[in-house]
């Protein structure tokens, strides 16, 4: 009886050019030996813009520009001045926040309410936070006068294009490094808008260079001999390859890779908030979250009750146009990712797990996947072990806290975990034993510039955010 009318955010705030060059040494330039590719809107498959693909020579140009900027401008610049540039960038991000949010949703497919209320405010927050560190590095606990590394090669994923850019660029610049950043091939546009923001901030040329491209561009960048630091966020498979490629070099490496987080719900949990946490844990950003709570471990004696609440809540999720302010779940980022989600979900059914999705109408064009849960999942199922990176939740049960810990830790990953219980001492007991870099107790998927983020085991190494996030960019 109360159907929400469409409430679309206006696209007119975004001024898209038909094509974009590479951002090298403060200017947009055509590739020398690269090509071009198209970035599409995953919600409609409409082409948004043509984007340059950097070749090996372009990578070399960018690294040289970054080196020169490092040696002549950014490295020698007093921290207080670096800080002021970063503050400027943070301010411009706030001022242009709606434009950034709309473009992020167009290019990525994520709901506007998420890009508007989560991603972009955090992006500004990270720049503000690290801006303040630039002239206080001697107080960061890494000795009285820690030095930058030089040129940082940074490769980021498509799930949080702008936020991952901020996680990479803000600490690197604050510490005194210059950067060459490669955004993901399906989501290059906000990074290019960020390049414009660097121009608007009068950031010295070469301090930030943005190279668009795919895997080959990224490989050329991390393997370039002129690079002192490699920071990568993405799949564990690619992370492994990068770890091999930097072996024996001087390059310092931070990796933020995959996850298969357990979200553990005890029988004394605040159930309604736990259900929100489960939903937020796996359906936030279409489940395209490395720290997603993709394994629900629920105590057997409340499993029915929790699942009933969860299903009722899932039926309220609104899937559709990312630019509609009421959309909860947007588009899957790419055809390839959709294919992977389908393949693993089919494997879940084939292996005997019970699949459920609420009734939900999916748009005809674009890439979509209904929010899905699998019950009757065991540790042996592929969907309990492999990262799906989509809106698919595997539900397992446990009987005792020790069993919950054992199952939660029974994975090569170790990025995050969730605990839901009203008993304080149990939270701390569990948190001590969970092998994960971030433990959310009675909450999930919370991020903050001051809070270190990163994994154990095959989820990578190094931390991003907080004081810890500086370490990967300092010669300590």
């Amino acid at each position: 009886m109360f159907e929400y009318a469409p409430a679309p955010e206006s696209r007119s705030v975004v001024d898209l050019k038909p094509s974009y060059g590479l951002f090298i040494n403060g200017e947009f330039v055509d590739p020398t030996d690269g090509g071009s590719f198209k970035s599409i809107n995953p919600a409609s498959e409409e082409v948004l813009a043509e984007v340059a693909e950097a070749g090996a020579q372009d990578v070399d140009r960018a690294v040289r520009a970054a080196r020169e900027a490092y040696e002549k401008v950014w490295g020698p610049m007093p921290g207080r001045d670096r800080a002021k540039y970063l503050f400027r960038i943070a301010r411009i991000i706030q001022e242009r926040s709606r434009e950034l949010a709309v473009l992020e949703s167009l290019d990525n497919g994520k709901p506007i309410k998420e890009s508007r209320d989560v991603d972009v405010p955090l992006v500004a927050g990270y720049f503000f936070y690290y801006a303040g560190w630039a002239d206080k590095l001697g107080h960061a606990g890494f000795g009285p006068d820690p030095k930058p590394l030089g040129v940082a090669a940074q490769v980021i994923p498509w799930n949080f294009p702008l936020l991952m850019l901020a996680w990479k660029i803000a600490p690197a610049l604050a510490a005194g490094n210059t950067v060459v950043l490669k955004p993901a091939e399906t989501t290059p546009l906000t990074a290019l808008l960020f390049a414009e923001i660097c121009q608007q901030a009068d950031l010295p040329a070469g301090v930030v260079n943005i190279l668009t491209g795919a895997g080959d561009t990224g490989r050329a960048l991390v393997e370039h001999a002129g690079v002192d630091k490699v920071a990568f966020t993405g799949s564990t498979e690619v992370g492994r390859a990068i770890a091999r490629s930097v072996a024996g070099s001087r390059k310092k490496l931070t990796l933020e890779l995959g996850g298969k987080a357990a979200n553990i719900v005890f029988d004394d949990a605040p159930i309604d908030q736990a259900v929100e946490g489960i939903v937020n844990g796996i359906f936030f950003n279409q489940g395209h979250v490395c720290c997603a709570g993709s394994r629900l471990l629920v105590q057997e004696n409340v499993a029915d009750r929790v699942l009933e609440s969860l299903k009722r809540r899932m039926a309220q999720l609104r899937v559709g146009d990312p630019l509609d302010k009421n959309t909860d779940i947007g588009a899957i980022n790419s055809a390839a990712q959709l294919e992977r989600i389908r393949e693993l979900s089919d494997a879940g059914s084939a292996e005997g797990a019970e699949r459920w999705s609420p009734p939900c109408e999916l748009p005809e064009r674009g890439f979509w996947f209904a929010p899905t849960i699998f019950t009757g999942v065991t540790q042996a199922h592929r969907i309990a072990r492999e990262e799906i990176f989509g809106p698919v939740l595997s539900v397992l049960t446990f009987r005792t806290p020790a069993e919950a810990v054992e199952k939660a830790n029974n994975t090569p990953y170790g990025l995050s975990a969730g605990i839901w219980t009203d008993k304080g001492s149990r939270i701390l007991w569990m948190a001590d034993r969970l092998r994960a870099g971030v433990v959310w107790a009675n909450t999930f998927n919370k991020f903050d510039p001051t809070s270190p983020f990163g994994g154990y085991k095959e989820s990578g190494y190094g931390r991003e955010g907080g004081r810890h996030g500086l370490e990967g960019y300092l010669n300590v």
Partner: protein, 274 residues
């Protein structure tokens, strides 16, 4: 009256708190002694022992670990002359004992220095604290055999890691003597495991071992081997400490990076509400 015939010592491996010979039955002649030549199987056994020790050691209180490390320093002091007799320069023995004491004190301080509360923009308690990464495979420096060894073992274990250490191939005797100290110092078996022998034999196994969390290549001098080991380590994303520069001065202040590289930072969030 004839001169007394001395009882000679057999230099064996140190695995899980025991002193086994190499399962391969091999030894090599070095420093005028037959020293066990560890095999790949010995390396794997050592990983099993180290893994088994993680829970108890990482779970011990920081105070308790500090006490045990300090106890080790006491025992080292008592055996000072024994190390000198093995050819370790007296100033190196002293530095090694002092280094051990220095690290002992870090056990309950590093979590304060390296962790802490984060002032997040919301109604949350948010705390970051370091935890041991787990099992660490360590290549001790060729020299100085004792100070180098102490300088790689202590930072790894003081925070709760357990180690499998390849000792200096050319000077293994101080290492085996250190093992005797460790065995009599309340250090739980398996926290430190020592493999004497050839690095080229045991290290590829350890670097590629999926139940090892980190490798410390400090003592690897062959650049090609170092690359090979780092590549192998990437298979399960081991944390890596790269080889020390050849001219590294082991007598200087070591800083905290050796400890922190072998730590994981865990950040816990909780809402604040009534």
């Amino acid at each position: 009256m004839s001169e007394r015939v001395a009882v000679r010592k057999t230099y064996k491996l140190f695995i899980g708190g025991k002193f086994p010979r190499s399962e391969s039955g091999r030894s090599y002649l070095v420093q005028d002694s037959n020293v066990s030549l560890a095999s790949r199987k010995d390396a794997r056994d050592a990983v099993v022992a180290a893994r088994a020790a993680v829970k108890g050691w990482a779970g011990a209180t920081a105070y308790n670990r500090g006490q045990i490390l300090y106890r080790i320093a006491e025992m080292l002091e008592g055996r000072r002359e024994q190390f000198v007799a093995l050819g370790v320069p007296a100033d190196e023995v002293d530095a090694a004992i002092d280094r051990w004491v220095w690290y002992a004190g870090w056990s309950d301080k590093l979590p304060q220095v390296y962790g802490g509360a984060n002032p997040v923009a919301g109604p949350y308690f948010n705390l970051s604290a370091p935890e041991p990464t787990g099992v660490v495979a360590v290549v001790a420096p060729e020299a100085p055999a004792l100070l180098g060894l102490v300088s790689v073992i202590a930072p790894a274990i003081v925070t709760g890691n357990t180690v499998v250490v390849a000792t200096s191939p050319s000077q293994p005797l101080p290492a085996v003597t250190l093992a005797e100290v460790l065995a009599t110092s309340d250090l739980p078996g398996g926290v430190v495991n020592l493999l004497t022998g050839r690095i080229t034999e045991t290290q590829p196994t350890l670097a590629g071992h999926m139940d090892v969390n980190a490798i410390d290549l400090t003592g690897v001098t062959d650049a090609e081997l170092a690359v090979d080991l780092e590549v192998k380590a990437a298979q399960n994303l081991k944390r890596v400490l790269r080889p020390a520069p050849a001219d590294h001065d082991w007598f200087t202040d070591p800083g905290i990076t050796r400890m922190t590289t072998l730590l994981e930072t865990k950040t816990v969030w909780h809402p604040k509400g009534v």
